[in-house]
């Protein structure tokens, strides 16, 4: 899906403010150690890492844009496109697999047309499949939708949960703290 990625100047100001107040490397080694953390913080603030923000981080820490994108595309946590109005993690750890998470993944593909790190065509929902583990295995299979965990899911109960979230409308900061 092609969509014009926009970022507001005020979000970028928040990034600048973050770097100014919290990122003071004493040398270039420390600056490099801080890149990943800074990008995580940017994603917390904006929900994704826009090109403009990547450049600001690179300039502040003295590393190239190239280097930043090398990291953004290697590490699974980062998004370089804006997420949908709702954000959902679907855990696919071993315990969730044993509990039937593959059926949930298939359902997302069939019903919403999303697989892996994708956003539905109506821009409502971004799905991220967690290849590691959300660490709440006793709830398996489990999703984390707009900050709330829903466990012991079937395809039906997952669909209901998603429909309910979409009916409620966007949650402010739904993308944060992932």
């Amino acid at each position: 899906m092609l969509q014009e990625a926009r970022v507001s100047e005020s979000d970028l100001d928040r990034v600048r403010e973050l770097l100014r107040t919290r990122y003071h490397p004493r040398d270039h080694e420390e600056a490099q150690e801080l890149i990943l953390g800074a990008l995580q913080d940017v994603q917390q603030i904006i929900g994704w890492v826009p090109h403009e923000a990547a450049v600001i981080v690179g300039d502040h820490l003295g590393v190239t844009e190239n280097r930043i994108y090398g990291l953004l595309t290697f590490y699974a946590d980062f998004r370089i496109a804006p997420p949908g109005k709702h954000f959902m993690l679907l855990c696919h750890g071993s315990a969730c697999y044993v509990g039937g998470s593959q059926r949930l993944i298939d359902e997302m593909q069939q019903r919403y047309g999303v697989h892996g790190d994708e956003t539905t065509s109506d821009g409502e929902l971004t799905l991220q499949i967690v290849n590691g583990c959300l660490g709440v295995c006793d709830l398996a299979p489990v999703i984390h939708l707009d900050h709330i965990y829903y466990g012991h899911l079937t395809s039906d109960s997952m669909n209901e949960t998603i429909s309910e979230a979409i009916r409620r409308g966007p949650t402010p900061g739904a993308h944060e703290a992932h």
Binding site: E29, Q32, E33, L34, I35, L36, G37, L39, Q40, V63, R67, G70, L71, F74, Y75, A76, D77, F78, H92, G93, S94, A95, Y97, V98, G99, Q102, V130, N131, G132, C133, L134, G135, V136, C137, D138, L139, A140, V142, H144, Y149, G151, A177, H178
Partner: protein, 582 residues
């Protein structure tokens, strides 16, 4: 709930001892005082079950209760199955653990307190050794009976966001002991006597590692703690950090002192948000008291602690990849030698320990290496954190002495299978080894006993699966994980793992060919022998393990196109076979 004593920087040991006595007195007063103490477990696992709502409801009810009370936060106690949990002690009443206290049930606790009674129907047990009425001690509960809590001793007991709570329970006394009574060599000697083996999976003796790091002549040198924990069924390290961050921090300080380093790193998976927050907070608190930083307690010893966040790549749990990630690079392993103890972070000697390994150091320094070595068995000493998942009754983080049998852990401690499920196997070693069958479960859980069975202790994550899980499909899942997480640096892993997934996929689809088993074995051999790092070298193991454990299932898929579990999208031949009673 934040007791904030304005922290003053401690400048000598006497000042630390005064603080420790005050903190212990205050903590002890909770159990004996005339006020009710109500503690709610707040960690990522309990938050997922609504613990914050429980806390809020308790707060509102307690405010209107007319009782004298203290409401506090504690960490995760490992009993996921009882979350959200609350512990309550009060006038004339021992500490009682209540389980599954959601927001709706929270008022029941307060109502019972007002009657001066326990909430009997929510009680899991009393925390001490004495029963209270019909409420038996938790230690008699099968989930707790076999446990020996060392690392998790204070988890669910102390407020993880309070350094004073940690100090009250003896925290940082090992650090003070090392600084004032022990040479670095003496610290290493205790680690060697304890014979702690690396909890990350390899099982290399930590004391030997510390010694070789001490011998590295280049300066500066560093300690790095691996709290990445990206495996698909392991969450013990993040629970430990969420519940007792200072324990991991104190262990890191002892390692720095032992090897002669002035800087320690803790690399925590970026998705472990609460663990990151609480560890960073712990570092700041320790800095305020002068327990880290420059000229610690007036000794002239300096240690700086840096917390670094990962980015969600499994490979960063591998030593050299972790170092690259800390340095702001893509986490791709390199060939060894040089080993990181010679050339690690910023090409300086770096000693890498797993979170759980480093967390053993404070109790070893406090109680002595011999005390530690007296637990467990001869070759695998001490305790191990293990997690069990799957359709079992009681899930959580379990701490047992090394050597308890897998059968006991599954059928006693974890309560056995849930109703309606029957045991088919248990996957061991995360994504790096094979499963074990019912008749193999008497094996002791330690470093050396599992290997001859092609299983592995790994980081202690075990996944029990039932008869509805197809071995071929499960093998495909585990292989697909390794394919996805391959860092793509070396060819055998980058191309071999997708090839293996492809072969398993055609078997799942009912298009398996004669010779596919041999093809898998041959391809696996390439990946195992030629891959650059430890992760590639074990990537095909779960597939080989599944083939060995369930050969008939693989044969049925390949030769007859039958998936007896009805999981695999095998071709129409299956439908016929099942219709025919296959």
């Amino acid at each position: 709930m934040d007791r904030h004593l304005a922290p003053t920087k401690l400048t000598d040991r006497a000042a630390f001892n005064v603080l420790a006595e005050e903190a212990a007195a205050r903590f002890g007063a909770m159990a004996t005082g005339s006020v009710w103490t109500v503690s709610v477990g707040i960690s990522e696992c309990s938050i997922s079950k609504g613990a914050l709502d429980t806390f809020e409801h308790l707060r509102m009810k307690l405010e209107d209760s007319g009782l004298r009370y203290q409401l506090r936060r504690v960490g995760c106690g490992g009993w996921c199955w009882a979350e959200p949990f609350v512990t309550v002690s009060g006038p004339g009443m021992p500490l009682i653990l209540y389980g599954n206290v959601d927001a709706e049930r929270a008022p029941d606790i307060v109502a019972a307190m007002q009657r001066g009674m326990p909430a009997f129907d929510l009680a899991v047990g009393t925390v001490g050794s004495e029963p209270y009425g019909d409420i038996r001690p938790t230690r008699e509960h099968p989930f707790f009976a076999r446990q020996r809590r060392v690392l998790f001793e204070d988890c669910g007991v102390i407020d993880p966001e309070s350094i004073e709570d940690y100090i009250a329970r003896g925290g940082y006394s090992s650090w003070a002991k090392a600084l004032f009574e022990m040479t670095p060599d003496a610290v290493i000697d205790e680690m060697k006597i304890a014979n702690v083996r690396g909890r990350g999976g390899a099982g290399f003796p930590a004391g030997i590692k510390w010694e070789s790091a001490r011998r590295a002549r280049a300066q500066p040198k560093y300690v790095a703690v691996n709290s990445h924990e990206g495996e698909p069924n392991v969450y013990k390290d993040r629970r430990l950090i969420e519940s007792n961050p200072h324990l991991v921090l104190e262990g890191t300080l002892l390692a720095c002192y032992g090897i002669g380093s002035e800087r320690g790193y803790n690399y925590i998976g970026g998705e472990h948000v609460l663990a990151l927050k609480r560890f960073r907070q712990a570092v700041n608190q320790a800095l305020e008291y002068g327990l880290i930083g420059d000229n610690i307690l007036g000794t002239g010893v300096n240690v700086e602690i840096r917390t670094r966040a990962g980015g969600g790549a499994y490979i960063c749990g591998e030593g050299s990849a972790l170092m690259y990630s800390v340095m702001g690079e893509r986490g791709q392993p390199r060939t060894k030698p040089p080993r990181s103890v010679e050339e690690g972070l910023w090409r300086r000697p770096t000693m890498l320990n797993n979170t759980e390994t480093i967390a053993t150091a404070p109790s070893i320094i406090r109680n002595g290496g011999e005390w530690y070595a007296s637990m467990g068995n001869e070759k695998s000493t001490g305790t191990k954190l293990v997690t069990f998942q799957g359709p079992l009754k009681w899930l959580g983080v379990i701490e047992v002495e090394m050597g308890v049998s897998l059968r006991d852990l599954i059928f006693e401690t974890s309560g056995g299978m849930q109703d309606g499920y029957s045991f088919k196997g248990v996957q061991t070693g995360g994504v790096s080894a094979g499963p074990l069958l019912e008749d193999q479960l008497d094996v002791p859980v330690d470093f050396d006993s599992l290997q001859p069975l092609d299983a592995m202790l790994g980081s202690g994550g075990f996944v029990v699966f039932d008869e509805s899980v197809c071995a071929v499909d499960f093998a495909r899942y585990l292989m697909a994980f390794n394919r996805y997480e391959s860092c793509s640096k070396c060819t055998p892993c980058r191309l071999g793992n997708p090839a293996l997934v492809e072969i398993v996929d055609r078997i799942r689809l009912g298009n398996g060919r004669p010779g596919d088993i041999e093809l898998i074995e041959r391809t696996s051999k390439h990946v195992i022998e030629l891959s650059l790092c430890g992760l590639g070298q074990v990537a095909p193991m779960p597939l080989l393990g599944m083939m060995k454990a369930y050969p008939a299932e693989f044969r049925a898929h390949i030769e007859d196109g039958i998936c007896a579990c009805g999981v695999c999208p095998t071709s129409r031949r299956v439908t016929t076979a099942i219709a025919a009673g296959g």
